[in-house]
Symmetry: C2
Subunit: 211 residues, 2 copies
């Protein structure tokens, strides 16, 4: 793989989907697949698949197809999930709980080390085995436990303040569910999940399809 | 607006963000804004803003800027949120509850008419005032209540089956949180929220930034 090459964000958006399909093929005991077969399954063109994977040096052999397991492993490496990431959740509401309970994240190497909230009634309780701590302990915890990723599942009004605190504590990346832009320095990676915006795209499609 | 023009999905992805910023400007009592000022706030270039909005006929006047309220209303119309949409949630777990409790959706016109689950213990209970019904009542409810949108917050193993049932019942659009492709006919609109994939994009960025 050419480390200096800039990969388009569209390709990066598609990589996890390749990873998912390859994982399902492996579960189904399939060891080898052609780009044409993968194309039919994933409903994208075979040339798109070849082009996307060529960004990383290409993994197929002409007339031979892809080795499912090794392509899966390679994409896992590219996605940075060939090793674990320590993560905390800030906000122990329904959304925070949903993330803790979703066991797939841990399977992918995202280890939830703790959950933080400012509701004193929750202090010391556990959610699926994860201890709830108060937000004033956040900075210390992040530093002592080598926390790389913070999931922010809190209302937007306090999101920027909390975002700044965790960035100052050394967190590399924020998975932001609060419906606001965090406005952090550029070296902090932010991946937004704005559910309202997703729902508006849905209604846009409804409105423009029925015309 | 030219109805025959095809708007790129990148523009559509950005529209809800314009809408959010304009809403915040209105809340702050600001009536008029130039593309340069909006550009600084939103951290996109002014020319990008002008280009994006020109897709819909452009709403600004040279040297005069945009009227915040009327641009907000126009974008609301384009996004199809100038009228209400009836919605149900399938899956009364944490994620389903988070969606019900998030009051912003209703403010945008997405009216949650009911929540469905197959856990008999939940039958007849309410979540934030929304009654939980059993999934065998789904089809009838969709037909009788003019349900346009279904949010699927269930595990992937039953998502395709449920997706097919609600599509057959006449639902136009599915907001799919299950981590699988639904494989429905093309006339059913599907907007996926795949949290695992979002988290993998985050780890991709971490992996490729620290190189």
């Amino acid at each position: 793989m050419d480390n200096n090459k800039i990969i388009s964000s569209a390709v990066i958006r598609r990589l996890p989907r390749y990873y998912r399909y390859l994982g399902e093929l492996m579960e189904g005991g399939i060891q080898r697949i052609s780009s044409n077969e993968l194309s039919t399954k994933m409903k994208v063109t075979a040339s798109q698949i070849r082009q996307d994977l060529n960004n990383f040096g290409g993994f197929g052999q002409q007339g031979y197809g892809y080795n499912v397991k090794s392509l899966y492993d390679e994409i896992g490496k590219i996605l940075g999930i060939d090793h674990t990431h320590n993560m905390i959740i800030i906000g122990a509401g329904n959304l925070g709980q949903a993330i803790i309970n979703y066991k797939d994240f841990e399977k992918r190497g995202f280890i939830i080390k703790g959950v933080f909230d400012n509701d004193m009634k929750l202090e010391g309780k556990t959610i699926s085995g994860v201890l709830v701590r108060m937000t004033d302990k956040m900075t210390e915890f992040i530093m002592e436990n080598n926390i790389e990723i913070v999931a922010l599942t809190i209302p937007k009004k306090c999101a920027r303040e909390i975002g700044k605190i965790v960035a100052d504590a050394g967190v590399k990346a924020i998975w932001n569910f609060a419906h606001t832009d965090l406005n952090l320095p550029d070296d902090v990676i932010v991946e937004n999940v704005h559910l309202s915006e997703s729902l508006m795209r849905l209604s846009y499609t409804i409105a423009n399809k029925s015309k």
